[in-house]
Symmetry: C2
Subunit: 359 residues, 2 copies
């Protein structure tokens, strides 16, 4: 079992070709196990990137000389409260700038993108209250704002040519289109090439995703959460609850690149110039953050929190492969394991944020 | 009870202000009672309007001199197979024209619009197969096609200024934003004014909706389906299953205009010139149509079909007002009543189709 490293469910490339686009989705709805309810980690990440987002959007809007129309896209928006946090931040940056400089605000279109299986309904139902909140908070400082859903894979064209000013994506690009070796390089290049067609000259893109801090791709550092999940699956196989052969054929379409890999792919693809390429860490237990001064570690709670978070992002893939019946049991085991681990060692997610401009 | 005409649940204007935008939606999903499963009548209507749609789109695309980018919106798209039928027809018209004339096809954006409570998820899940079908059927004759969802009320702004070439809406404009007297005039004017901002000069709009064939607004001709529903509600009140007071306060936000009313509002608003203004009828029992040569009337089946259709469009409003528990019973009664009625008298829906250009 020791040989069962993260590779077994990550990029071994020997499994069946998972139809990722049909299966991968964050858990729908607003219930206890939903992504919407278990995305505190993603929220922390968004807050860390906020200064980069705000600075980039403001600089871009000035560079474009306060255009009357501004079009942005959020790739892999998922569903739930975080989606509209990013939208709010982009609107807030522009409204603030226009107010400071005495310009009237632009008409703003925001495209929320995710795979067609994403729970867009949950996002759309939040819109009436979101628009009302904007109007109440900003009054006439905010111009007409049109929020649309654009379903499809960002590993391919999504928007008309040269139609976007700004593209954003948080915690999505580490998900691949397939679980093959070298898939990240292909996928990331395709993402860049597709956006290169869609983003206006000089337009900007910011991507945030989970990376590796160590060059060696078999490094344990980024993949602990999946390694522990693989161990739980193996325990269940040993107890006869699932087939070990099913574990062999399960591949998670997920990759954490090293920062130099990202840089190399962007330079090789050639459509974008990198403005900023930075890394930052957040605690795997999202409650353990700078805002939460009274945080006290508790093995059970922490295990449950992380387990819920990982369940919300991986349940669709696991249920498709192993069947829905094992899911509750699997994540109970997982909560215990991850709680145990974190009681011994604080673990962080290593993140990469890249800001680049269309040449 | 005889005094309980259709007016009681249509435009009496004395009830509470229904929050239509939050409540009105065609029944979600793909189940037995879903709109998706019970929209045969709407499909027949779309097929009747197809020649107008095709002719208008082709003429517009020629007039705009075969632009490289073409943007269309379908207002009140609802969910289910009909949504993509209209999208297909628009694409088909342009692809056919480009093929005939040797032009390469444009990049095409289609915005599917409905209220935020609409079941967009069901529509979006159909997209991968729809794109695959397009590619298979048309090959390189079809250009990049981007289908987005734009949630919001069409009684207000939905899109950036002068961003649309063509707007379509089928069987939606008879739904009002509120159930007040003279609401149709206000709503329809607001729809025109909003689209006037969004449609490029010379751009086109086609609206199809249920109208009245007789000038008198209290005429029974258009409102039989609601009159019979009101009778079923009264029966249930007499049996103590619902409160009669609840019937008094229930208003259906629905209006069937007379053709001259439509013409007057368009001319008064002033942004559009009417190209075509026509009427046509379809049988209330959608199975009784020109395509279905072997149609034999059967009271039970016909009653069930019409009841399912009316349930799919009105269930959300009725359940919000009377509670979900009465719905099954109500529509069983309704099926019997409508079957009885149609066994005595063939009943048709009277439809108006208007094609107009942005001045």
């Amino acid at each position: 079992m020791d040989s069962y490293t993260h590779n077994s469910i990550l990029e071994n490339g020997h499994g069946h070709v998972l139809q990722v686009e049909k299966v991968l989705r964050m858990t729908s709805g607003v219930g206890e196990n939903s992504y919407s309810h278990n995305s505190a980690l993603q929220k922390i990440v968004i807050s860390k990137v906020r200064p980069v987002l705000e600075g980039t959007v403001r600089a871009l809007y000035i560079k474009e000389n306060f255009p009357r129309y501004f079009s942005v896209a959020d790739l892999g928006c998922s569903s739930g409260p975080n989606t509209l946090i990013v939208t709010y931040e982009m609107i807030d940056a522009i409204v603030g700038l226009c107010r400071e400089t005495g310009h009237s605000p632009p008409e703003l279109t925001v495209f929320l993108n995710d795979l067609p299986s994403n729970d867009f309904n949950t996002d759309f139902k939040l819109l009436p209250d979101f628009y009302a909140m904007l109007k109440k908070e900003k009054g006439n400082d905010v111009g007409p704002c049109f929020i649309a859903g654009m379903p499809g894979s960002f590993y391919g064209r999504l928007f008309p040519s040269q139609s976007l000013d700004f593209v954003h994506s948080s915690y999505s690009v580490h998900w691949l289109s397939k679980a093959y070796l070298e898939q990240f390089q292909n996928d990331f290049s395709l993402l860049l090439r597709s956006r290169a067609d869609e983003i206006k000259l000089g337009g900007q893109m910011i991507l945030t995703f989970i990376g590796r801090s160590i060059k060696d791709p078999t490094s344990r550092d980024c993949c602990l959460v999946w390694e522990l999940l693989a161990k739980c699956l193996l325990d269940m196989a040993a107890e006869g609850l699932i087939e070990e052969a099913d574990i062999d054929t399960f591949n998670l379409p997920y990759y954490n690149p090293f920062i130099e890999e990202v840089k190399t792919i962007v330079e090789k693809e050639g459509s974008f110039v990198i403005n900023r390429l930075e890394t930052f860490e957040v605690n795997l237990d999202a409650n353990d953050n700078d805002e939460n001064k009274n945080y006290v570690f508790d093995k059970f709670t922490c295990g449950q929190n992380v387990s819920h978070c990982i369940r919300a992002i991986s349940e669709s893939l696991l249920a498709d492969h192993f069947g829905e019946t094992i899911i509750d049991d699997l994540f109970e085991r997982y909560a215990k394991r991850i709680g145990e681990h974190l009681s011994m060692e604080k673990t962080k997610n290593f993140n990469i944020v890249i800001s680049m401009a269309r040449k």
